[in-house]
């Protein structure tokens, strides 16, 4: 942990060398998620509701997903840009250092400009929390927190999967974006609006719905079964196969060296 803070301070120092770039990137990140918000706003000013979900409920859902995504992105950005680490040989350096490889990749990149999204998410969340009409009892607050953490777990897992695949090929990995960027884009709306098959896919295969749809139902009071509140915990199990894939990738790297 102390070492991570050290890495963090170096990243901070580096990024402060390029203040304009930092601020502009922050602004860009902020705007691109603001555009997503505008998308929702304009759609709802035309349609008022979708499949029984109101505007402020959807905003709440959007804010939670965006928050989980941006936190995951800040934390594990090193995995997101792993193809660079592989192709410029930096992974060799990681391998000759006496620390866990995963930790080093994690710490190799912390982009604070990604906070642009987080700021956006916070603002929307602050707006949606009171206007959603939810009475914020303790279980509901807990659900909200679980949702964010579950989301961080799933998105981080997906970034790790992406990085692990980089060991085998760096071509054609953009399909992972369907789940990371796509999860963020389409997770604006509860996954049920996309139909049953999509919901099943995002429940059992890429468990985005486990932190988004099911606990959300509990949050807005559509179900009262407290089990729904705990589904985000299942998200953490998703990290296991991701970790194994990573191990597999490292051993492949060791046998081919490229």
């Amino acid at each position: 942990m102390r070492l991570y803070l050290k890495y963090l301070s170096i990243h901070l120092k580096s990024q402060m060398q390029y203040k304009t770039s930092f601020l502009l990137t922050l602004l860009g990140q902020f705007w691109s998620s603001f555009a997503m918000f505008l998308g929702i706003y304009f759609m709802f000013s035309r349609f008022q509701s979708v499949e029984g979900y109101t505007y402020s409920q959807v905003l709440l859902c959007f804010a939670i997903v965006l928050m989980a995504f941006s936190l995951a992105e800040c934390l594990v950005r090193g995995f997101d840009t792993f193809s660079v680490i592989i192709s410029n040989g930096e992974f060799d350096r990681i391998m000759v250092r006496p620390r866990n490889e995963m930790f080093q990749v994690l710490a190799s990149k912390v982009e604070l400009s990604r906070l642009g999204r987080l700021i956006q998410a916070t603002i929307i969340l602050l707006y949606a929390l009171p206007s959603s009409g939810i009475v914020w009892t303790f279980p509901k607050i807990l659900t909200l927190i679980l949702m964010v953490f579950g989301g961080i777990a799933v998105f981080s897992g997906l970034f790790v999967v992406y990085a692990s695949l980089c060991f085998f090929t760096i071509e054609g990995l953009e399909f992972i974006n369907i789940f990371t960027d796509g999860g963020r884009e389409f997770g604006r709306y509860p996954f049920s609006i996309y139909g049953n098959n999509v919901l099943k896919f995002f429940t059992f295969i890429v468990p985005l719905a486990l932190f988004q749809y099911y606990p959300f139902l509990y949050l807005i009071g559509k179900v009262t079964n407290p089990l729904y509140m705990l589904t985000p915990i299942l998200c953490f199990f998703f990290l296991l196969p991701c970790y194994f894939l990573w191990r597999l990738g490292v051993s492949h790297y060791k046998s081919t060296g490229s």
Partner: protein
């Protein structure tokens, strides 16, 4: 300290010919070629030895280094470094080695070098006291006291290389792998780096393995060289031994007046112009003094120089001898 036994390694490489139809074809199907990067590599290096590992590009040098540093696993054979199998016990293994990759930096680009050092201190869990002592020693030996306060991107190549080497030695490694450490440096920096490597080896008994194309590095630093070509070890021996092998051949350059002179048996002509001649003399056939007296009998000698084989020439003739 380092023991490699019958190491083999094969890579799979995609292949494609040029041209439009070939590009289109490879879009659907790809051919692979197996390339044997290392064939039956065997050698032992003792503690405190300085070894030059040489060979042309693509001969297998970096694959061997990668196996020894635990980045790569061999297909077959045994590699034991410091009593450990590198890839199996990566973390404990690498905490006792230092690696300098010639053209890649381990310093953070935008922050003062000292910040990078501080981070390395934490990565390697170097005790504060040891760190202090090592840092002081490295600063004074490499003369980087001022330099380390500057961000790496503002340093000259020579300054940066010195900092890179310091960064690799902060944790007192028992073995140091240097991959072309002097590449691109000016003459003064090269000498400084060589001097430093020598001192480190003597003071701490660090085992040094050096890959380079610069034969002056080899001559200045190592007593033993290992020559690799096409994945095989072609030669492993003391540099002086090798020199002796070539010492019976001398290159003689003569400036003279008068007509061209005839060459005796044992003299192989390199160039002969009017008033200037250069040839190789095999001293087993004709001694140096006899050769000189023979020439001065024929022509008026103005200037004469005799030189033994340099490491550079030796390597060239070795490459030729083994056709690599």
């Amino acid at each position: 300290m380092i023991e490699l036994k019958n190491i083999n390694k094969t890579f799979k490489v995609a292949r494609r010919n040029s041209g439009f139809s070939e590009a289109a074809k490879s879009f659907f199907r790809r051919d692979y070629e197996l390339i044997q990067a290392l064939k039956d590599i065997t050698f032992t290096i003792k503690e405190g030895e300085m070894v030059g590992y040489i060979g042309p590009n693509g001969a297998g040098k970096s694959s061997t280094i990668k196996i020894m540093s635990g980045i790569l696993t061999q297909d077959s054979g045994e590699c034991i470094v410091n009593g450990r199998i590198p890839w199996k016990e990566r973390i404990s293994h690498v905490s006792e080695i230092g690696v300098v990759f010639g053209q890649r930096s381990q310093l953070w680009w935008d922050v003062p070098v000292i910040d990078s050092f501080e981070l390395i201190k934490d990565i390697y869990k170097i005790p504060p006291k040891t760190y202090r002592v090592n840092l002081d020693e490295l600063i004074s030996l490499l003369n980087i006291g001022e330099v380390i306060k500057t961000p790496a991107r503002q340093l000259s190549l020579g300054q940066r290389t010195r900092c890179e080497i310091a960064a690799s030695l902060l944790h007192n490694p028992k073995i140091l792998f240097l991959d072309e450490p002097t590449i691109g440096l000016d003459a003064v920096s090269k000498i400084a780096v060589r001097e430093f490597i020598k001192t480190t080896n003597q003071r701490h008994n660090t085992t040094v393995i050096l890959t380079t194309h610069d034969m002056q590095d080899i001559e200045a630093l190592t007593e033993r060289i290992i020559l690799i070509g096409k994945g095989q070890i072609l030669l492993d021996g003391a540099l002086t031994e090798l020199k002796k092998r070539y010492s019976d051949k001398k290159t003689i350059t003569v400036e003279y007046t008068g007509n061209k002179f005839t060459l005796d048996e044992g003299m192989t002509c390199l160039e002969q112009l009017k008033g200037h001649a250069k040839f190789v003399l095999d001293t087993n056939i004709l001694s140096v003094s006899k050769a000189i007296s023979e020439i001065s009998r024929q022509v008026e000698v103005l200037d004469i120089s005799i030189s033994g084989a340099t490491a550079e020439e030796m390597v060239v003739s070795l490459y030729e001898e083994y056709k690599i």
